[in-house]
């Protein structure tokens, strides 16, 4: 922890970075994001199992980037990122939202995080994404802290849920998802926390012509949730922030996960894992399956 603070302080003091985006403790089992520009504040930084936010969402914010551009110098941004958050950063780099050289990735050896604030860290309370996580070490980083530790074991309830849903009839599934989507109040917290929802104007805000009805009645909720899931298909890195943010507990990341499974099955592609692989969206292979087409 001290090393992290020292490092952040040094970066700021040397003016290598305009800001360090990191976590700070709020209460025992709760942290929150903090954007540090003053080296003296570096002591507020923490990293532990309660650092839930995927801070890469801040990388695409114009106001944050504006801090890097001073009249005489263009500085970098330092970001604290769990190994899974690095996947999001990779995806952002691939989508031209961030340049690798413009950021300093401070990452950690990670052994999981809790599913939500207010829970004690244990296998039972492990976040869903951590259960299947294969990258306890970040794939890309500039500086790494923390020691390697065993991740608690837990059963993959989300996968079981997906399988359960798939065993249902179409009518039952439609009913289920329609009921879930019906809860949506269109607060767009899922969109706000998603690092890949960086569009300056979301498709749902496009009014002329109206792409997705802004009303949160069944029809509007249904199309919003489908389009959200579709736009993240083959892009979502599975950070699960949407699930955490949704005040209505709609199983958003369950759908994302199902689409990621499709990307893996049909195209052997996992989003955000490699800067060298071309993105699945935006490329094609002549040998892609033609099964769908008559």
């Amino acid at each position: 922890m001290e090393e992290l603070r020292e490092y952040a302080k040094e970066l700021l003091e040397k003016k290598e970075v305009a800001a360090v985006i990191g976590y700070t403790q709020v209460s025992e089992n709760r942290t929150k994001p903090i954007i540090i520009t003053d080296p003296a504040d570096a002591s507020k930084l923490v990293f532990n199992e309660y650092c839930l936010n995927n801070l890469s969402v801040y990388l695409t914010k114009a106001r944050i980037n504006a801090m890097c551009r001073t009249k005489d110098k263009i500085m970098k941004l330092a970001i604290c990122a769990k190994p899974c958050d690095v996947h999001s950063i990779v995806a952002l780099i691939q989508e031209n939202q961030v340049h690798r050289n413009d950021i300093v990735i401070i990452s950690f050896n990670c052994h999981g995080a809790v599913k939500d604030f207010g829970y004690e860290f244990s296998g039972e309370n492990l976040a869903s994404k951590c259960i299947t996580c294969e990258t306890h070490k970040p794939l890309y980083f500039d500086k790494i802290f923390g020691e390697e530790k065993e991740t608690p074991k837990a059963s993959d309830a989300a996968l079981a849920r997906i399988e359960e849903l798939e065993s249902m009839t179409h009518e039952e599934r439609f009913e289920y998802f329609n009921n879930e989507f019906d809860k949506c109040i269109k607060c767009y917290a899922c969109r706000a926390v998603c690092p890949l929802c960086y569009c300056q104007r979301c498709i749902t805000d496009k009014a002329i012509p109206r792409w997705i009805e802004s009303s949160s009645h069944q029809r509007g909720n249904f199309s919003w949730n489908i389009v959200r899931a579709f736009h993240l298909s083959a892009r979502c890195t599975g950070c699960g922030e949407c699930d955490r943010a949704c005040p209505m507990d709609i199983p958003l990341s369950l759908i994302n996960r199902r689409m990621a499974m499709e990307a893996k099955k049909s195209f052997s592609y996992v989003s955000g894992r490699s800067l060298e692989t071309p993105t699945l969206v935006g490329s094609f292979n002549e040998k892609d399956s033609d099964e769908l087409f008559m």
Partner: protein, 665 residues
Amino acid sequence: MKIGVFICHCGENISRTVDCPRVARVCESYPGVEYAIDYKYMCSDPGQNMIRDAIREKGLDAIVVGSCSPHMHERTFRNAAVSAGINPFLVEIANLREHCSWVHDDVEAATQKAIELVRMAIEKVKRDKPLSKINVPVTKRVLVIGGGIAGIQAALDTANAGYEVVLVEKEPSIGGHMSQLSETFPTLDCSQCILTPRMVEVYQHPKIKLLTYSEVVKIEGFIGNFKATIKKKARHINEELCSGCGLCITKCPTKKKAYNSFEEDLAFRPAVYIPFPQAVPNIPVIDESVCMYYKNGKCGMCVKVCDRGAIDFDQKDTMLVADIGAIIVATGFKLYNIDKKAADSKYKGYGEYGYGKYRDVIDGLQFERIASASGPTAGEIKRPSDGKVPKKIVFIQCVGSRDDSKGISYCSKICCMYTAKHAMLYKHKVHDGEAYIFYMDIRAGGKMYEEFVRRAIEEDDVKYIRGRVSRIYEENGKYIVKGEDTIAGMPVEIDADLVVLATAMIPQENSAALARTIGIPYDKYGFFNEAHPKLRPVESTTAGVFLAGACQSPRDIPESVAMASAAACKATILLSSDTLEREPVVAKVNEDLCAGCFYCKKVCPFGAIEVKDVKDMNGIVYKEVAYINQGVCQGCGTCTATCLSKSIELAGFNNEEIFAEIAAL
């Protein structure tokens, strides 16, 4: 907005199943429709006048015509609208004939559908924006890819029209397959004799820049404004200095190091060679893979004998870039390899015929070389294995072609004719020989073609056997050909001295890769696709790229030449104006809202999307956005669907228009 609706009866073609007056009546009741009428022939002069008059008298802003397919008369009605002062893009066509009256029997259902189709068009036209054509400049230079007879013809015709031509040939000489042929059907005139003057003409033409031993590696840009990158492979001979004396060739110690591919591997050549005596340009090439110098750094005999110092062992491949206005692709064909098949090949071999195993089982081009006066046997028919004159030859047609089980469903078109020619040439040279031809059907469509085949049968006593050959095996220096005669209904067995297989014409190696380089579509075999099978046979679907010869499908010489001239003509039409008018159906980015993910750039098939920097007050780039080069954009709209934030719109088919159509259903 005042909309006029015009419903055409098309004589009775539409009105037989669609109640046209009712369609007009119902449509008149829709919001925005000022005027609606039906008429017997809208496309006729009186019909068009009706439209013009209505536009003027009723003050219409846009019109919808319910008629035949827009592919038929969209232009007619747009012109009519323009002459009455309406933008042509404020005209929508509802397809009431091809998509409605002709395909449905029930009057009620068809009328209902017609109303809906017109309603969709009305809702779309309400949202249509006036558009004007886009002008782009034209580079007056044509790139011809391939120096066979089609490429030669295309290059000459274009150059003679006064335009510059860059002719790129991958082999050291132009001439292509035609230069390998002995005689040509149906006249039996010498192939070389008619081709060589053309080759020389190309070489000497002031407007033609000839690049042999070169390949096109990249095509960028768009119609009128292509940029071609051409790789000029190292010849290791300085072309400026070489006089073509050929001394290096005769003195090269590696006499028989490599198969002579021009002779279809029936002869050998040294490391430094010209493919054939009449080669154009008459400049040798040093084959690095067999040259002693490259093996051990010694020898250098050619350097010693060349008094002009033209040998240059250090020469490297060079890249040339040329601005091009139009491209003619004439890359030709190759013959189906009968048995030597790569593991991933889509074609299956013909192991049962023993090609490659028996030296006297050869293909058509090999026979051409044997029959050619300049060939390895100096025109005497001798079989490759022992040089004996074959007394009995079996020709087998349709080897590969028309054979689904081997992966080729099409007819190669020229084999019937050249096999008849081969048999005749043989009979003319070996008077006591017997020639048998196994055939499936004889396809001799063409001027003097059928007569030619009849001559072979009647005058030269060539024995045609209708049926397939099942197996060929060697026995005492003879090749036992087992087949069946389906007319006689009995098995046949012939002990032949030589077997000639008329193998299928297939596209050149890597034709698919070249198609992707140029950006043109190709079929499952690898032949390039024409824009329209009947009406646009020499154009590819990519504007400014034309097709000539056997790269498009199997062609004989006259057809290839005709296509080449047609393609040249199309290219010169394109180059004859200084600027090009393009349909304004192009995409446009809303730069304020673009997030700069560049998925559009990744999916654009034409490279029309560029990165544009947006700077802040201090001149520092703070954002990159997509910018669409309207000259390059072809208007497919793939970017619009890919754009996640919907910041790209395709003019003429924008999303508001499409949503309106959906809502009108």
